[in-house]
Assembly symmetry: C2
Homo-oligomer: 443 residues x 2
């Protein structure tokens, strides 16, 4: 059933043309870089897969003037305006009031919201301080979006053929609220489709420019009916195919993506956005094999990539994180004489780690990563302390050895990337996974 | 030495008042949520600590019209306008051309840039495709910011008392370029200070609203000379003190922060932005103690938090990731009868894991995390597959057991949070670290 305000919307809709979505993320902490702005990623993805690309995104200060200025502009040109943040209990949470003042909406106290907040505090055994009450205000003509994961509910206002959505800042509150209460309302109003709107393929082992050069001939016949976009990540590149004016049907885009995949061979990872870990997990699962990992340079990230996946125990036997030589000996029984002769940052040590991890954990395959993820040129706050990351060995900065243990042998290789520690760690994780993937494809 | 264009800037500067910084991040992949927008976090932080809060941030489509419209607005009101992305070799990289057309600047081919790009391809043994040449264009009247980590250099243009900076999109290229070439130029022009501009303290174990209620009396005497902002993260809350109009000196802000710290007692983590892992590492280091970890639910994230720190081998003995019962037995010799009687998601198993990790790795302290990080309400793409994350045990969704092993005993406790898997994992990591921190403070 449409609410009265949604009917107002439906009545005004035909005059508006294609809906325009704008996202305004609020918070001085975003502009000061104190919190990563994950809302754009999340909301952009959820809208994008349903055929809407955000037309504009702005990050604003908590100040009421900034909110008023940008909201006025976005409200004038947008169909759906989504604001995030500034709904909490503290003095810098002014979104509700600023929006009400700008749009001339009345705010009223809602006893049901206050009750839900009080119950939440009681459930967690914490006292409810009086400043929490400001979260119980709602727009007189609007709807309340319940928040089972926090105190501040979301607010929904449909007026003048437009929709305004206010969402709380914490991602664990915003995300389920968006999925459970905002998307269904937008679909119901015909502002969002439910089907997928573009085709994406993921590649590895080929750079962005070489990839474009290789694929371009496939795209020529479609001229400007086809929109192609490339996006490089740490160790893989995505290609996105869409037809903005709809001249190419979805099935044609899919057929084109299948041709790309054929042309790319082993450099093709998947259609969609599966992680390398997910792809390896699927390959292991279908072969009924299990993987173990032993990490120094990546320090737990490789294991974490697998344990993020459901049912991990079926294909992931476990891992050890052994940054010091002592740990390599204690957990993996890497021979001390090997560490003395070759050092921990060596092909020999990498192979010993992989093989030991496989044996100890009863796994068919094992990946090992040893070395230093802290080259010169790093801008991480930890750089420059003079410590070595990997047991104090001397080794060219940034050199990492990967090893792959399989039922038919074990190999090591050296890799080396510039960049910050976190970048190098991510690249090492993805390079190891891609090696495993190619090996599994051949068996 | 100031370049000719920088002199132009200096001549026009006095008329401008306080400098206004705007950041425009370009890319359909950002609006579609395909890539996290880390540039706002990085550039916001770097500017914020030097006394500048970004006045505005917008994320734009790759389309030339969008770039022109927003750039015209930002250029009209801003002193420094920073654009990121769209400088690469592919057909959707149109920033250079769009900016030149909008501002009426001429683009010229720079043989030195092309040489550097060609050398980079040669060094990596990859063929240089012709589309790379568009990256060798620069503004006739501008400067080139070298890019040792990628192909596209940055571009710097100072004109009409304003600065325009174009930076490449990949974070590992943008970050060192910003630190090494943009910040020094802005400091030289007097647009950025070098000193810190606000005081931040970090807290744990107290919610945002209770924190404000507790600290508010300290702030009352300063009225609106003091600006206080709160920012909740997954397991800790930051408080930021600043004096926007400079009525409070930096030393007064520091004194106020010290009073907050005193009032908060053990709930005070640190001044600044150290991670809980860094704080624990420092406490371990000064006590000459080492930590081991054993993880199921957090699957490597706890180990990764430590191995991110330099010199980790001095205080971090290593870790094991054991999502399955088999791995708990193989790596930690957790007794099978214990697993049968109590299950893997139990206080008993958590304590056994922590103690075994400490013994096996010769550590003084150990943290263990066992349980499921996948409650209902999760919106992670992996949810709903019907698999259990932790060895297939039946257990209330989202229940996690933490254990802490110390030289004088071992304890376990149950924790439980709603939210997506990644949120719950992060909260579990931080809860475990905060427990260790409080224990170390008492010894």
């Amino acid at each position: 059933m449409l609410s009265p305000s949604a009917s107002t919307f439906a009545a005004a809709e035909p005059a508006l043309g294609p809906p325009r979505f704008e996202l305004l993320t609020l918070g001085d902490e975003l502009l000061l870089g104190l919190t990563a702005n994950s809302h754009l990623t999340f909301i952009g993805t959820e809208l994008g897969r349903r055929g809407v690309q955000l037309a504009h995104h702005a990050t604003l200060s908590d100040g009421a003037d900034d909110i008023a200025g940008q909201l006025r502009a976005s409200w004038a040109r947008g169909t759906v305006v989504i604001l995030t943040g500034g709904l909490g209990p503290t003095c810098d949470d002014r979104t509700r009031e600023a929006v009400a003042a700008t749009l001339g909406e009345a705010l009223v106290h809602d006893p049901a919201i206050e009750r839900a907040i009080a119950e939440r505090f009681a459930r967690f055994g914490r006292p409810m301080t009086p400043n929490n009450r400001q979260q119980a205000m709602k727009f007189l003509r609007g709807e309340v979006l319940p928040n089972p994961h926090g105190t501040a509910p979301g607010l929904w206002l449909a007026r003048d053929g437009r929709v305004l959505v206010l969402l709380p800042g914490p991602p664990n509150e915003l995300r389920p609220m968006f999925a459970d209460h905002v998307v269904p309302r937008l679909v119901r109003l015909g502002l969002l489709a439910e089907g997928e709107a573009y085709v994406q393929l993921r590649t590895a082992g080929i750079g962005e420019s070489a990839l474009e050069t290789k694929l371009a001939p496939l795209f020529v016949p479609h001229g400007n009916a086809l929109c192609v976009a490339y996006c490089a990540h740490e160790g893989f590149v995505d290609v996105r195919l869409s037809s903005p004016d709809g001249r190419l049907a979805f099935a044609q885009l899919e057929a084109l993506a299948a041709m790309c995949a054929g042309l790319l061979g082993e450099d093709f990872l998947c259609h969609g956005r599966d992680s390398l870990a997910k792809i390896c997990a699927d390959l292991l699962r279908t072969r009924d094999k299990r993987l173990a990992v032993a990490e120094a340079a990546t320090g737990g990230l490789l294991a974490s990539a697998f344990s993020d996946l459901c049912g991990a125990h079926k294909f992931f036997a476990g891992g050890v994180v052994c940054c010091s030589n002592d740990a390599k000996v204690a957990l993996l029984e890497v021979p001390e004489c090997l560490l003395l002769q070759h050092g921990a940052v060596s092909e020999e040590c990498a192979v010993a780690m992989a093989t030991a991890a496989a044996e100890r954990l009863g796994a068919d395959y094992a990946l090992a990563v040893t070395g230093s993820a802290s080259p010169t040129g790093s801008v991480s706050p930890q750089s420059g302390s003079g410590d070595k990351a990997d047991g104090g060995e001397e080794n060219p900065l940034g050199a990492i050895y990967l090893a792959l243990h399989t039922p038919h042998g074990a190999w090591a290789k050296k890799v080396c990337w510039p960049g910050a520690r976190s970048t190098v760690k991510m690249r090492a994780v993805n390079a190891a996974l891609d090696w495993l993937r190619r090996e599994l494809l051949r068996t």
